[in-house]
Amino acid sequence: MHRIMRQDLIFNRNNLLLMLAIMTCVFVYFAGWAEGLSPRAYFLLAAFYVGASMGITLAAREDKHKTAALICSLPVRRSTIVAARFVLTWALMLLTLVYASLLTAVLPFSQIDLIAVVNVKFILVGLLILSAVFSLILPFTIRFGVMGVILFLVAAQVLSVLVLLAFHFFRMENSLFPSPLRMVSRGLRFLLGPSSTVIHMLIIVAIVLAFNAASFFASRALYARRDL
């Protein structure tokens, strides 16, 4: 597995260095001067950007050069390739969170409250959000390449618009059901607030593990069925 991970890192070296430079500049500006965007949202967006970029760049490169057959003809199982890409994506997202936290701690002019982001509740809720997104994106990317990501994003947007329209036209926002955005927002506020307990956190851990396990096994099965 480490061979595949090392190879993917070598391929993405320039891309990762560029992202690191951009992320550092944006973060320095954000930490010192920007107002309005929550530091929590920034941390999650940065991790999402790095994780998504890693998967999409790899898929795009394989699509462009048609090298999936080359990689799969080497002495390595397809399940190992999928596992390596899962581990690498998560490792890079977690490293992004650590890097952003270190910058917050080191920058002398930082106005970000480090305690707001470096705490168990935020870390677990962050992992939950990232897992929810990536457990859906990764199987599409692994099975269909860049086209899969595009299809996923288009389908997600269409579905979101349909759900919002449904709530609007059927006036469900005034009924017992809150609108989806309000529902998510309330849920997150509850989990990050003082009312959430250790039990809630354990449930989050279980959901994170379940999302990732389901996503991994689905990706593995899809990739095994892919004719190259």
Binding site: R3, H65, T67, A69, L74, R225, L228
Partner: protein
Amino acid sequence: MDDALVIRNLSKSYPGFDLRNVSFRLPRGYIMGLIGPNGAGKTTIIKLILNLVRREGGEIAVLGRDNIVDETWIKERIGFVHETPAFYGHLSVRRTASLVGRFYDAWDDGRFRRLAGEFGLPLDKKVGRFSRGTKMKLALALALSHDAEFLVLDEPTSGLDPVFRRELLATLSGLLQDGRTSVLFSTHITSDLDRPADFITFLLGGEVVFSCSRETLRDSWVLVKGGGDLLDERSRPLFRALRETPFGFQGLTSRGAEVRRLLGEKQAAYEKPSLDEIVFLMSRES
């Protein structure tokens, strides 16, 4: 005698194409030519051996082991050349070799550099700038640099100049001196197999027409030439393939003795067909 490759009742379907109950075997230490017109199923069989496509039925044993159960063990011992070699265009030859070599325990970097020198591959040039022929040379150098026991070459001579083609075929024959290396060589250029191939498997429309040694092939098929008046209800069924022109006919048969008895020695001409003639007549017939 143990086998490098055993394929039994292999099947795979695509829209508009079926590979049906393909079976053949290649003993260890020999070269097999996999021939047939475009679309016959050669590349599909090779991809099935490498597990690049999923098989729908049958069995494949490489060096005595199942190609899916022992996939990693088998691929460690296979040197593979794809019909359209795909590499990361932004990497140099040196970087490509380092990337591929890392996956093989028996990778011999010295051998790769020697082959790259022999094949005229510039180590620091980006692969994306190479012609198809040069990419094929790179694929061959990679396939020959990890002490593979079984070489699987899919149309390896396409895109190569005639000089390098001859050199490659001589290299392949030289490899077999150890009695351990086996080669499966797919091509539709039958002249490539005139010298090196010990066994020939001929595919047509996803089915094996024959799979035998070159000697058996030479002894069992007869090319019959004669006037059109010789063809009648009794003689026609004896031919596997027939080509009729206003001046006469050419017929391919594996029942030479019966044809001779029926048509007589003087009325028709009997020849040993070349591989090219067998492929041409059978493909045309289908």
